[in-house]
Amino acid sequence: MNYVANPIAIAIFLAFVGFVLGISFYFARKAKSAEGYFAAGGNIHWFVNGIAFAGDYLSAASFLGICGLIATMGYDGFLYSIGYLAGWIVALFVVAEPMKRLGKFTFTDALDSKFNSKGIQLMAAISTLAVSVFYLIPQMVGAGVLVTPLLGFPHWVGVVMVGIIVITIVATAGMTSTTYVQFLKGGLLIIFSTVLSVSVLHKGLSTETRPETFVPRVIDASSVSPVATVEYKGQSFVKVDEDGIANWWIAQGDKLEEAQSKTVTSDNEVLYNGAPKGDNKFKSVGYITKLPDGQTKTGKLGIFKYFSTIQGSEIVRYPKSKIAKFDDNGNHVKVFVPEITAGSDLMIPGMKFKLKSNIGKLNFISLMLALFLGTASLPHILIRYYTVPSQRDARKSTIVAITGIGFFYVLTLFMGLGAMTLGVIDLESSNMSAPLLAKSFSIVLFSIISAIAFATVLGTVSGLIVAASGAVAHDLMANFLNIKMTDKNKVRAGKISAFAVGIIAIILGIVFKNMNVAFLVGWAFAVAASANLPSIIMLLFWKKTTAKGIAWSIGVGMISSLGIILTSPSMYTQLYHLEASAAPHMLNNPGVISIPLSFLTLVVVSLMTQKKK
């Protein structure tokens, strides 16, 4: 899709970013000490911390990624909402209060509180860095995705912009400013997502399409002279020239159905539906072809009526698996093939996760396990327990977070399904579904939502960079390497680390541009759950846990989860641009193997390294 910057959108966006930076500079004065920089002095109010938790957690993955997945895959996207929220149960009931009691600045402090072990300090710091970087990738991808339609810049400009702004925020004020940015953003995100969801229900469902949505024409095959014909996986594609613009059509018996296509020519020119992007030929997709009982328009709907109506409808989707890719005279062509899907199939699991196959089942179980156990092991979530004064405050802020996050996740269903049925999906980026849904209602709502989403990315990235810089300055330099640093020097080391991690995040954000952000976050959860959770749980509940057991468990969990991810079919197709069948295994989510392996390692090594009484 071709995005044109809107002055209102730019004004609202700049005002918001300016305000966020203002908060950052205002709180800079509180970040002189290490406590101030890494833990906001431990004096944040539990309610503010709870909403900031929500702000941290409702990252680009939740707002952009889940809505995008629901818009393109239906119920399977909502599974992420369920799993992400369920993870808070582990955080609240098992981890919150002990973490607050045991730690000082970082998750490593808590793990190492009993042992003072160099092995734990090193492994936990590396794991914090690995998880933070993995979680940073989707946030940066999301940043680029947002800036494109909002300001009309290319993706990489968005990534670089976020990187620079976040480094400025973190390098000036650390955890205090991050907390207030998250509080503001978390609150606004929930409020405006409610506005968007209510708008979706108010509009209801209709078989009429918006002028901006692509609705294919169907013509007699005999009425045109094809320029070229290509066979791809048993389907015929016909190239037809209309007024000097050649686009691809799908052969359906003696009819031709118009398709949307992207062509990269041999001299690297990119054409959309046969024309340059600026000609706006390439449109958004998704619409209802049939409503229950022959209706054409429902009018406004209640919550359950909305779901049951979709269950009884038929919807046009454009699954990635249906994209036809072939060469035409040296030009690389992608044709987006539609699929009419029954609403009843879209509203149950199975569109993304192929539950009829054993590997599909295993991938599904693995993801649900990682989401359930991952939340309580995310470093940027764990460090937020140190920003409140007491264990009771840690618990209360977790409950505020669960309430806010849970409410938001229910809203993702309406936003995702709204995007699916109102024809706002960008074929090249499902991540844009929620902001584009807002745009279909009003440009002001779109601008506000996009500015909040951008702040979402800013806040989450800030939190992650604080966590990563804490791992470097506090865990690695001060504790592991025993470098004697004054409080001021420790803060300086943290800020330099923040700068370095920020640069790495910018590069990875550009490299992973085309992947769904919720899917990427699923990986971060898997690494966190595999590397960190077994040691947290066993430290708290198994007296025979030893320092070596913890260090080995973190190492094995991290390496096995990263190893499985880096050799997964998704990585092969989307990053290495190879066939999925070339991957050495078919597992896309490592949790089901790496989490038990990490637990097992901890138990075995701990039993082997018991102190003799």
């Binding site: 929220l85 808070w88 609240l92 009931f93 209060e97 509203m347 149950i348």
Partner: protein
């Protein structure tokens, strides 16, 4: 080493009691979450059945899991706060 909390926390006599309750509630939720995953994986078509005002089991179960987490959290906080006051005396702000 600097492993002590950023803010000094007072002794909490109710810690063990709260931890036990937390684990019980965790297992309760874990069982229900597992049932959801098992139905989704091994009996996917069951998820199609309408169960509440026409909405299918997948939607209702999924939303119920989210709402149940919130309710459990509120109950846990209420019970823990009461126990803390009882065992530690009313020192902290409610």
């Amino acid at each position: 080493m600097l492993h002590e909390p950023a803010v000094k926390t007072e002794k909490d006599a109710s810690s063990a009691w709260k931890a036990k309750l937390g684990i019980k509630l965790f297992w309760l939720y874990c069982v229900i979450y597992t049932i959801f995953v098992v139905i989704a994986v091994f009996s996917t078509q069951t998820m199609k059945k309408p169960v509440l005002a026409g909405a299918n089991l997948a939607i209702v179960f999924g939303m119920a899991l989210i709402i149940f987490a919130i309710i459990l959290g509120l109950i846990y906080n209420y019970v823990c706060t009461k126990k803390e006051d009882e065992m530690n005396g009313k020192k902290e702000d409610a």
